[in-house]
């Protein structure tokens, strides 16, 4: 079930009340069994058949984790780890990439004059498979690396893997952060619960008001891009940048807030990425759980940055290309990933790839000219990459860019956008984005952008009510989250 659905609006309060009022609080196993049950209910709501896959993945890694830890022989440990990788990536590869590779093979064969006809299968992509397979894989890898001890409590482990707030679209949690939380009975904390509600509200604002509003603009522009001028297409790319940000960070916020309602802490997944001053900083702020996963389990094993520059470049390109492929079974995602990897070149060669950890405009209200230029450049680069991400094909992406970088970039986009039913969305979306950016900028030094604690209670409540009302007004058609397709 979607977070922005009536079913979830009913599921969550009932689960919350049962969890805190009816569940016996004497044994952690009762707690975890309940979490496991409601998580399976949540996941099975899409398609109950896919529960078998998550059970397979959880079972395999539970037992493999224990076996790796109990085994001292290096070869056997490696074999067991390989088995875990095979099972998880095998499941992922089959359900997500089988048809993609078959189609690509057919295209390649045809271009070489050979006519291969392997069968494509009618495979449905199980929701969240890219996320939970990576989550369980990190568990076994960390055990292999002796950075984490396996658990003997299968209920806690299964609950950790299937924990419903983050099951279908992340954050991809590391066992070291989340699993220990299932070893103890959670206690209700008023401030944490209120913080959770606030985070959920902000996440719903980003999803429903920003992402879904931008989606109605983006869908029209990208579907009929040949009928628009460069300036309209640039607007389309701009709104997509905020659609995907609102969608994905909104989901993460709802996941984090929901987890807090049950007394669990998830890691932050987005940290004001569009205020990044270079691409390196961007990737420390965007989908943090995935980028750190690839850094720890792909980039570092390849040698990371502790190798000659050319190899470092190779490592970056491989990591980002694979990351692109993770996002979807289409060459556009691969191109998007590869392009992001290319963006690192100047940072590597000019030795600017160390993390920018300071907050932008740390000691001033507004950014400096230099920071503004850096923001603009970084945002522009990500915008170009997003065009590949959103386009249906590489050809479409290049055509889209070709039209943007033509004379028509300086034409008025509005006459072409009228009559498409998106005029209201253009206004609403623009206002919502401005509100988002103001909140994020003003609170950039705080833990969370939607920070109103310094305001009087009545003002805070009025703001919460207004946001909740606007969110409900824009509720409309339930639009799925973009990252569910991954």
């Amino acid at each position: 079930m979607l977070f922005n659905s009536i079913e979830f609006a009913i599921f969550l309060p009932i689960s919350f009340l049962v969890f805190w009022f009816l569940l016996p609080r004497k044994s952690v196993n009762y707690q975890n069994l309940f979490i496991l049950s409601i998580s399976y209910l949540f996941y099975g709501w899409w398609d109950y058949r896919f529960l078998s896959l998550i059970i397979i993945s959880s079972s395999a890694d539970f037992f493999i984790g224990k076996a790796i830890s109990n085994n001292s022989k290096s070869t056997q440990r490696k074999l067991l780890l390989f088995l875990s990788i095979l099972i998880n990536l095998g499941l992922l590869g089959f359900f997500k990439y089988y048809n993609f590779f078959v189609d690509s093979f057919i295209d390649l064969s045809n271009s070489l004059g050979l006519h291969a006809h392997p069968r494509t299968l009618n495979i449905i992509l199980p929701v969240g498979i890219s996320f939970y397979t990576f989550q369980t894989l990190s568990y076994t890898i960390d055990i292999y690396r002796k950075r984490f001890k396996p658990t003997n409590n299968w209920i806690a482990f299964f609950a950790f893997v299937s924990f419903f707030p983050q099951l279908v679209a992340g954050p991809i949690e590391r066992a070291s952060n989340l699993l220990p939380q299932f070893y103890k009975i959670t206690k209700f904390d008023y401030k944490v619960a209120i913080s959770g509600m606030r985070i959920i509200l902000w996440g719903l604002f980003k999803k429903i008001i920003i992402a879904d509003t931008c989606a109605s603009i983006v869908d029209v522009i990208f579907e009929h891009y040949t009928g628009f001028n460069g300036s309209a297409l640039l607007l389309g790319a701009f709104f997509f940048a905020f659609q995907i940000y609102g969608d994905f960070s909104g989901y993460s916020d709802i996941a984090i807030g929901t987890a807090k309602l049950f007394g669990f802490n998830l890691n932050i997944n987005f940290n004001l990425p569009y205020f990044s001053r270079n691409i390196g900083e961007f990737w420390h702020r965007w989908h943090i759980s995935l980028s750190t996963w690839f850094k720890d389990y792909v980039y570092f094993p390849l040698g990371g940055s502790k190798v000659p520059k050319l190899k470092q470049v190779r490592n970056i390109l491989i990591t980002f290309t694979v990351s692109g492929l993770w996002h979807g079974a289409n060459w556009t995602f691969v191109a998007w990933g590869f392009l992001n990897g290319l963006y690192y070149f100047p940072l590597i060669f000019f030795k600017k790839n160390k993390n920018l950890t300071s907050v932008i405009a740390e000691n001033s209200i507004l950014p400096s000219i230099k920071e503004l230029f850096q923001l603009f450049l970084t945002f522009s680069l990500t915008l170009i990459a997003w065009i590949f991400f959103r386009s249906d094909s590489i050809t479409d992406a290049f055509n889209y860019l070709r039209i943007i970088f033509s004379e028509s970039l300086f034409q008025n986009p509005l006459p072409l956008l009228r009559g498409k039913g998106i005029t209201d969305s253009l206004i609403d979306g623009s206002i919502a984005i401005i509100i988002l950016l103001i909140f994020e900028w003003v609170n950039r030094k705080k833990d969370f952008p939607f920070y109103l604690d310094k305001l009087p209670k009545i003002i805070r409540w009025i703001i919460y009510w207004l946001i909740a009302f606007f969110m409900l007004f824009y509720f409309g058609e339930e639009k799925t989250f973009i990252y569910f397709q991954f």
Binding site: I194, H224, K420, F473, Y474, F475, E477
Partner: protein, 314 residues
Amino acid sequence: MKKYLINISLFTIPFILYFFIILSVDPFNYFNISKIISYDLKNEISNKTHYQLWKILDFENNPSPNIVLGDSRAARLTSELLLELTGKEYKNLAYGGGYLKEAIETFWLADEKVKLKNVYMGVNFNLYSDNELRNLVQDVKSIKKNPFNYVFNKITFKALYRILYSLITNNEKDYEKPQMNKEDFWKYQLTTTTKRYYSNYKYPEKLYREMQNIAEYCNINEIKLVIFIAPTHTDLQEEINKYDLYTDYKKFLYDMISLNVTVFNFNIKNEFNKDTAMYGDPFHLYDYTPIVKELFLETDSLEYGEIISYAKNY
């Protein structure tokens, strides 16, 4: 925990209050229970707030097998006028500022509700384009799904605000009237509006297929489908040549003929359409009575238009 539950309960109070306000006012008669606000006031305000939502919900509450579809020109063929002239009840499901895609979707919605007998569909060239893709009927489908969607959406809120404003101030704003005199609006329609329609004209393959589907469906189910091309002033008719769309216009006429239904074309160069006094703006006549008579009463000779295609069962 107690404090948390109390705060959450207090937080929900405005939403519950709002729900009851909507239930009482019911701007679009979705619930159709409360009679606190008169139908006439809602017809005046909610209709103009969102034609599609008002008319479709009104149709659901009072369906009819005879319908009129189209844009603002077809919308002037009001139910009252048709009843007076034909003696038959017609529900007018044409929308001010409506698009062809919306008319097509409305046909299918109406067909789900009632067995249709007579369908009159206004189709004009300016809407027969793949660039005219707006579809507000999608909003209606989403809103109709459940009461929650109806209560909590901006269209309902907007209509509620306008109704309450009207009641409090005793002042009915005209939400449709352009803020210009006739002469200025005439020029505006011939420049800005036609530019929007014609400068990026694209032949609508999808829309044509959807029209074919409707025509075939009507033939199979013995529904009388009549397409009419509403009259426009000759000043507007000539704009097609300025944008070099004469061939496309002919293709449009040919497409309508190829549907094998009866097609009336009132959009011709005749004295009636040359007369500025007959028109409020280049798109709209002041009085559609003569058009209705020729379209609905099956007279022997036509003065204001011509039949360019006959259906077998006409």
